[in-house]
């Protein structure tokens, strides 16, 4: 298969990919549909930012944020039916059950783990040991500046964690499971080995939780930008949007069956971080997955990093050849 040369890398030699915005299909339909699917993403982002900025304290709560998050995701699932990007990514009952199992896992068991040994515990510990009053200058900044800073710090950390996962075998093992998905849907971001879900949940943003409203604003970037990484909806995202933010196109390429294409677009929300570090490719892919599209069972998703890790350890430090009995 002929590939496309981008810089010093050849992408799309193992599986078809589309490179360049000019080659990516546009939303089909009348002017109203075109308008809606062009301006939906920016409108939601700015509307949510305005909501969290001006909402009275009684409404600006964590539970409102959870409610909005669930409602927004449910709405996006409807959009997946209305305007799918690819028919081959159509959400089936089995995929929905598997995705929701991981969402449920994250919301319940993983939350308990996080509370005691994960990011919440680390933050509580850090708050006890660091003199956080020294960060008071930060909480005196305008809310939107704080929110943007929190999002950027978090996404910058996630970028390097994600890039590390693609470049260091012990981190790749838990992350690899997520790359066996063969289609993108709204809840696919939750699919992965629990070790990875735990690692990805570790964030340092919580260190700054002095001004809760700034956190709610920061969360908006995750919800109204990061969520689109895994979605089966065709948008005509405005140029400035796709320059700044990670889109489904970027992330689908990252999930391509073509190995070289997976080594790009690591950022979760702010694709310009990839642009800065030279790992951004503007393009998309329909054929996703690993090993030619083999879909792992949930059981294998749970055990794969451990079984493969054990194999790797045995290969490296394996028992020496059987001793030859002395004659």
């Amino acid at each position: 298969m002929d590939g496309v040369l981008i810089g010093n890398r050849m992408v799309g030699t193992q599986s078809p990919v589309t490179i360049g915005w000019e080659n990516i299909p546009k939303v089909e339909g009348g002017p109203v549909k075109q308008f809606v699917f062009t301006w939906f993403q920016p409108t939601v982002l700015f509307a949510l930012l305005a909501f969290w900025y001006y909402a009275p304290n009684s409404i600006a709560t964590a539970s409102t944020a959870i409610g909005i998050g669930i409602g927004f995701r449910a709405f996006l699932m409807v959009l997946e039916w209305v305007n799918p990007r690819f028919k081959s990514w159509h959400l089936t009952w089995k995929e929905l059950v598997t995705d929701l199992f991981y969402v449920g896992f994250t919301y319940t068991l993983l939350r308990i783990v996080d509370l005691y040994i994960g990011s919440d515990a680390l933050i509580a510990s850090a708050q006890q040991h660091l003199h956080l009053e020294k960060f008071a200058w930060f909480t005196g900044l305008p809310l939107l500046v704080q929110a943007l800073a929190i999002s950027l710090i978090f996404d910058f950390g996630q970028y390097w964690m994600h890039r590390g996962m693609h470049n260091w075998y012990p981190l790749w093992l838990p992350h690899s499971v997520h790359h066996y998905i063969t289609q993108l849907n709204i809840n696919k971001g939750a699919v992965g080995n629990p070790v990875e879900l735990f690692l990805i949940g570790l964030g340092i943003g919580g260190l700054f939780d002095f001004v809760p409203r700034a956190f709610l604003l920061a969360g908006t970037f995750g919800l109204a930008v990061g969520t689109y990484q895994h979605i089966n909806v065709r948008f005509n995202s405005p140029k400035w949007w796709r320059f700044l933010f990670t889109t489904t196109e970027h992330h689908s390429l990252h999930h391509s069956q073509d190995y070289e294409s997976t080594r790009c677009n690591y950022a979760g929300s702010f694709i310009f971080i990839d642009r800065i570090f030279g790992t951004c490719i503007d393009g998309e892919a329909e054929l996703l997955g690993m090993e030619g599209g083999r879909r792992m069972t949930v059981r294998e998703q749970m055990t794969y990093p451990f079984t493969e890790g054990w194999k790797a350890i045995k290969e490296r430090f394996g028992a020496s050849p059987a001793a030859v009995p002395a004659e």
Partner: protein
């Protein structure tokens, strides 16, 4: 216990009358493309087709089933296709209901044993919130000023430090509904798929 009384949970059985005059050979030929998907192996002999799927991709129209047997029998009213399909996904969804109910119980137990440190964790940072003042720009733009922290877990933007069993119960309910939908939907979809194939050109 005879497993047959409960195996309807993950076994889908059904039958479909073939068109008058349609031979079993012709019927299997028409169904044949369904069993040439990635990860699917099948055997055909004596009016029977047995298939097995491993790591089938989501794009496989029969991805929800892992194995099955299709049999064509001749009756007085003509030939009938009988199928018996096995789905681990249906069983998985069914099992998720008690699993999440169990997680809810576990959350309650953990909450009881870990209550003191969890409460301590919520109180500590709350004291620091009191010193925060709104930036003049935000004041000018009309953003509400932060209020003094309350002792509740639901203060603005606060992380809920006490694990709640509610989400586990919600997911248990969701999977119960999803199971009922899936058991009816997948039964109907596979029948429609076979019918379309058999009647198709």
């Amino acid at each position: 216990m005879n497993l047959r009384f409960i195996d309807w949970i993950w076994h889908v059985r059904g039958s479909l009358a073939l068109a008058p005059g349609q031979s079993s050979e012709d019927a299997f030929e028409k169904l044949d493309p369904l069993f040439h998907e990635i990860g699917t192996s099948h055997e055909r002999a004596n009016g029977m087709l047995a298939f097995r799927k491993k790591d089938q991709p989501a794009q496989d129209k029969m991805a929800v089933f892992d194995s099955g047997v299709l049999r064509i029998e001749k009756g007085a009213a003509g030939s009938v296709l009988h199928y018996h399909l096995i789905s681990r996904a249906l069983l998985f969804c069914f099992v998720l209901v008690p699993l999440f109910l169990g997680i809810a119980q576990l959350t309650i137990v953990v909450g009881k044993y870990q209550k003191p440190p969890a409460e301590a964790a919520t109180k500590k940072p709350a004291a620091k919130v009191a010193v925060v003042a709104l930036n003049p720009i935000d004041k000018a733009l009309g953003a509400p000023a932060p209020e003094k922290p309350r002792n509740g877990a639901d203060k603005p933007g606060a992380r809920n430090k006490k694990p709640s069993a509610t989400s586990a119960y919600v997911f248990a309910g969701m999977f119960a509904v999803l199971y009922v939908i899936g058991r009816i939907l997948e039964d109907w979809l596979v029948k429609r798929l076979f019918r379309k194939r058999l009647l198709g050109a």
